[in-house]
C-alpha cells in the first residue's frame, strides 16, 4: 500500500492540467503509472473484467484488451467511461481522481492487444489471390467471402503475427467460442457437421458446412459429438509457404 501511494505521489507531481480533455494520456508509457494502474485495476475492475482485463463473457463484461483494436476509441473516451460508467449496465461510475483514472487508462493501453507490428514485406496482390483460393470460402474480408469461420477484416490489428501463423498452421490450437466443431446425427439418420453457435438444455443451434443455420432438438438426435478438431484444414508450409503466408497477411493488413 505504501508502495502504491508513493507511485501515486510521484506520478501526481509529474502531471499538469489533468482535468482538461485529453487527446493523449499524460501518463502513457509511464512504467510506474502503469504498475499502479494495474494494482488499481485488479482491486477495482477485475471482478467483472478479469485479472487480465480479458473480460468474463458469462456476465457480459467485455474483453478490454481488444477495445482499442475493435473500435475507434480515444483515451478520453475510455477515461470518461471509467468515470461515468455505462448507464443501464452493471458498469458503475467511479470517483477516481484524474490521476488514478489516467493510471487505469495507461494500464489498459499497456495490455491492449496490439496486433501485428512490423509485418515483413509481402505481395498483397498475390495475397489476395491466395486468400480467394484457400480462405474465402469460409472467411470474410471487407465484405466478401464466407461465414463459417471468423471475419478476418482488421485481424492484423487484433492479433500478433505469431498467433495468426499458429491459426493457419494449427487451426485446432485455439478455437474461438462460436466456432467449436460439432457433429449431430438426426433421428432420420442425417449426419450434419458444423460449428456450434448456441446451446441450451433442450436444443442446439449450429451453422453447417454449407453455411446454413440449423437448429435441432436434442431429443430428436441419435448422436451428438463435440470435437476439439477445427473444421478449418491445417495449412503446413507445403501448402502455403512462409512467404505466401506473409503475402496473405499483407493483403489482410490493407483491409
Amino acid at each position: 500500500m505504501r508502495l502504491l501511494s508513493s507511485y501515486i505521489a510521484i506520478v501526481f507531481f509529474t502531471l499538469s492540467a489533468t482535468a482538461q480533455a485529453q487527446s493523449a494520456n499524460p501518463l502513457e508509457g509511464n512504467a510506474r503509472a502503469i504498475y499502479a494502474g494495474g494494482v488499481l485495476f485488479r482491486a477495482q475492475c477485475a471482478t467483472c473484467h478479469g485479472a487480465d482485463a480479458k473480460g468474463i463473457s458469462t456476465i457480459d463484461a467485455p474483453d478490454l484488451t481488444l477495445m482499442w483494436s475493435q473500435r475507434q476509441l480515444s483515451v478520453q473516451d475510455v477515461f470518461n467511461t471509467i468515470r461515468e460508467g455505462i448507464p443501464g449496465s452493471i458498469m458503475p461510475p467511479h470517483d477516481f481522481t484524474d490521476t488514478e483514472t489516467w493510471m487505469l487508462v495507461g494500464y489498459l493501453q499497456s495490455v491492449a492487444v496490439a496486433g501485428v507490428s512490423e509485418l515483413p514485406e509481402g505481395d498483397a496482390a498475390n495475397g489476395r489471390r491466395l486468400f480467394a483460393r484457400h480462405c474465402a470460402e469460409c472467411h470474410r474480408v471487407a465484405g466478401e467471402g464466407g461465414s463459417l469461420g471468423p471475419n478476418l477484416t482488421g485481424v492484423t490489428s487484433r492479433r500478433s503475427l505469431e498467433s495468426l501463423r499458429t491459426s493457419v498452421r494449427q487451426p485446432s490450437a485455439l478455437i474461438q467460442r462460436g466456432y467449436k466443431p460439432i457433429t449431430v446425427v438426426t433421428s432420420d439418420n442425417e449426419t450434419v457437421q458444423g460449428v456450434l453457435k448456441s446451446e441450451d438444455a433442450f436444443s442446439l443451434q449450429l451453422m453447417d458446412q454449407n453455411q446454413r443455420l440449423r437448429a435441432f432438438m436434442k431429443s430428436n438426435l441419435r448422436r451428438m459429438e463435440r470435437s476439439e478438431r477445427s473444421l478449418m484444414p491445417a495449412f503446413p508450409p507445403s501448402l502455403i509457404s512462409e512467404q505466401e503466408l506473409l503475402d496473405i497477411l499483407n493483403y489482410l493488413d490493407g483491409q
Binding site: M1, T58, D200
Partner: protein, 548 residues
C-alpha cells in the same frame, strides 16, 4: 384444498356484510365503502391456506417454496402456456430480474431492478400504478448489483428496500410513499436488495455491501411509524462475543463485512428468525483478519422480539472465496433417526448441504452436493476439513456452488432441490487499498469459463445423497419452486423455464423466455379457479396457466 378455498371466499364475502351492518348501525354511508384492510400478520402466518394469495417472499415463513396447489400436474403440465407478459422497461445487465411477486385480491405487487415497482392486474398483466425511485448517481454496491427481490406486505402497506440503502413504506393502492428510513450510508458501500420479512408488527431487513468497507446488520422496524426497534450487528464490536475471532483492532471490526442481503425465514413457535450472513471483508485477502471472523458466512438464529442471538453456525470459517452464506434457510419438520425433528436446511455457496436442529443449532448433516475439492467432509468439531485452499487446483468460483436463488423442499419425498454450479476458479489475493466507498475485494479471480456447468439436483435430506439431477450446459442461477401435485419448476441460464417430475427429475415441459432466469424462482396462486405460475426473466414477468 377446496375447503380452504371456500373458507377464504366466505371470509371475504362476510366482510362487506359486517361493514353494511355497521353502516346502518352508525347511520354512516361512508362505511359501506370501507376498503379491504389488506392482509394481516395472521394471514401471512397462515401461509398457503388461502390459495389466491402469496403474501411473503417464499409464500410462507418456512422458506420451503412448496405450494399446495394441484391443478397443474405432471400429466397436464405439457399444456402449460403463457397468458400474458409484463415488460418492465428496466434492464439489469450482469445480474437478473430477481423478484418474487406478491399477490392479494387479484393484484400483483412487484419490485424490479433499479428500484422500479408496480401493482399489476394478475388477470391481464396491465399495471395499476408504477413507481421509480430517483436514485443518486453515485451509488456504490447498488450500482454493481441494481437488483431487488420483492416487497413485504402488511395491511395496506408495502415495504421495499433500495439501492441507496433505505427502507420505504408504500400505500399499496396507489404506490404513494408513506415513509422512508435510511438503513446506512450508501456512499460508504451499503445498499439493500432483499424482500423485507414482515412479522407481527415488525419489518425485518438486512443490508448489502460486503465487498466494501461495511459492517453488516439485521434491523427490525415498526411498520407504522418506521422507527427502528432493534439492530443486530453481524460483526461484533470490541469485547463483544465473537470479537475473539478477529484481530484486536476496532477498525478491522468496523469494516468487517458480513452482509445480510438475502431474506431469512421465521419459526413463529420458537419466535426465532433464521438469517444468513455474507463474506468478511476484504473478500479474498485474509492476512489482516486472522481468525474465524464471526459471524461472517454463518447462519444466525435471532430472537424476533429483541434481535438477540440465540445460536449461530459458521459454514465457512475465515472465508477467502467470497462464499457468502446468504441463502434462504429452509425450515421443515422431518423424521430424524426415528424422531420428529425441527430442522433448518441450507444449500451453501461452499458446496455443502447442511441440516441443523433449528432449536439448538446442532449440526445433523453436512455433505457436499457438488464435485468441490475445497472439502469433502465436516469434522466432528463441526468445521469443514479443508483439503484444497486453492493451491491444489481450482476451486468453485466466487458465485459459489449455489447461491441465493431459492431452493425448494418437497415434504413427503423429503427432497431438498437446488440449483448446483460446477465451476473452476483461481483466486489471486492482493492487499487492498481499504478505501471507503470503493469496492475492496482484496485481489482478483480467474474463472475458467470452459469448465463450467450447472444442474438441478434433488438431495435426500436424511443423507444428503443425490436422488436425481438434470444438467444444464452452463453454471446456472435460476431458483426452484415445487407444488404438491408432484412438480418442480426451475429456470436456467439459457432462459428456459421448466417443469420436472419431483419424483425422478424427468423434464416434462419447458418454455424459452428469451433471457436467462437469474436469482428468481417461480411463484403460483389460484385466480378465477385457474392456477397461475409466474416467472421473472430478463426484463419480463410472464404468467403461465393451462388452457381454459
Amino acid at each position: 384444498m377446496m375447503d380452504k378455498q371456500q373458507h377464504s371466499l366466505t371470509r371475504r364475502a362476510v366482510t362487506p356484510l359486517v361493514a353494511s351492518f355497521l353502516a346502518l348501525l352508525l347511520g354512516s354511508s361512508q362505511l359501506t365503502a370501507q376498503p379491504d384492510a389488506g392482509p394481516t400478520y395472521d394471514d401471512i402466518l397462515a401461509g398457503f391456506e388461502d390459495p389466491e394469495r402469496w403474501l411473503t417472499y417464499s409464500g410462507d415463513y418456512s422458506g420451503q417454496r412448496h405450494s399446495p396447489l394441484t391443478q397443474i400436474t405432471p400429466e397436464n403440465v405439457d399444456q402449460l402456456r403463457p397468458i400474458w407478459t409484463f415488460q418492465t422497461g428496466t434492464t439489469t445487465r450482469g445480474r437478473g430480474f430477481e423478484t418474487t411477486p406478491l399477490v392479494d385480491d387479484g393484484v400483483l405487487y412487484v419490485t424490479g431492478s433499479n428500484n422500479y415497482a408496480w401493482a399489476i392486474d394478475a388477470r391481464t398483466g396491465r399495471a395499476f400504478w408504477s413507481y421509480r425511485r430517483n436514485l443518486p448517481d453515485d451509488l456504490t454496491y447498488g450500482a454493481s448489483a441494481p437488483v431487488n427481490r420483492g416487497f413485504g406486505m402488511l395491511g395496506n402497506r408495502l415495504f421495499m428496500v433500495t439501492l441507496d440503502a433505505h427502507l420505504m413504506a408504500f400505500d399499496r393502492r396507489n404506490g404513494d410513499v408513506l415513509w422512508e428510513r435510511e438503513l446506512a450510508d450508501y456512499q460508504v458501500g451499503y445498499a439493500a436488495t432483499l424482500a423485507p420479512l414482515v412479522l407481527d408488527n415488525k419489518i425485518i431487513v438486512g443490508i448489502s455491501g460486503g465487498e466494501y468497507r461495511t459492517r453488516g446488520f439485521i434491523d427490525a422496524f415498526d411498520p407504522q411509524s418506521g422507527e427502528r426497534i432493534w439492530r443486530f450487528n453481524t460483526i461484533p464490536g470490541p469485547g463483544e462475543p465473537g470479537s475473539e475471532t478477529w484481530p484486536d483492532d476496532p477498525e478491522v471490526l468496523a469494516a468487517g463485512g458480513g452482509g445480510t442481503w438475502m431474506n431469512g425465514s421465521y419459526d413463529p413457535d420458537l419466535n426465532l428468525i433464521y438469517w444468513g450472513v455474507g463474506n468478511p471483508n476484504p473478500d479474498y485477502y485474509g492476512e489482516a483478519r486472522p481468525g474465524d471472523n464471526l459471524y461472517s458466512n454463518s447462519l444466525l438464529a435471532l430472537d424476533a422480539d429483541t434481535g438477540e442471538r440465540v445460536w449461530h453456525y459458521q459454514f465457512t470459517p475465515h472465508d477467502l472465496n467470497d462464499w457468502d452464506s446468504n441463502h434462504m434457510p429452509v425450515l421443515a419438520e422431518i423424521e430424524w433417526e426415528g424422531e420428529p425433528r425441527r430442522v433448518v436446511m441450507v444449500g451453501n455457496r461452499n458446496g455443502f448441504f447442511y441440516v441443523l436442529d433449528r432449536v439448538t443449532g446442532e449440526l445433523l448433516l453436512g455433505k457436499p452436493f457438488t464435485a468441490t475439492t475445497w472439502a469433502r467432509e465436516i469434522g466432528d468439531d463441526g468445521r469443514p476439513i479443508v483439503l484444497n485452499d486453492g493451491s491444489q487446483g481450482c476451486l468453485p468460483d466466487p458465485w459459489g456452488s449455489t447461491n441465493f436463488m431459492p431452493p425448494t423442499f418437497y415434504p413427503g419425498l423429503d427432497l431438498f432441490i437446488l440449483t448446483a454450479r460446477e465451476t473452476c476458479a483461481t483466486y489471486v489475493p492482493e492487499e487492498p487499498a481499504n478505501t471507503p466507498g470503493q469496492s475492496n475485494f482484496g485481489g482478483a479471480v480467474h474463472i475458467d469459463a470452459e469448465q463450467g456447468s450447472g444442474a438441478l439436483r434433488a438431495l435426500d435430506v436424511h443423507t444428503g445423497e443425490l436422488e436425481w439431477e438434470f444438467t444444464y450446459p452452463s453454471p446456472t442461477f435460476g431458483g426452484v419452486m415445487s407444488t404438491a401435485s408432484g412438480l418442480v419448476f426451475a429456470g436456467d441460464h439459457e432462459g428456459n423455464f421448466m417443469a420436472f417430475d419431483a419424483r425422478n427429475g424427468e423434464n416434462l415441459w419447458h418454455y424459452q423466455t428469451g433471457s436467462r432466469i437469474w436469482g428468481a424462482a417461480a411463484m403460483t396462486f389460484m385466480l378465477d379457479g385457474r392456477q397461475l405460475v409466474l416467472i421473472p426473466s430478463g426484463t419480463t414477468l410472464t404468467a403461465f396457466a393451462l388452457p381454459e
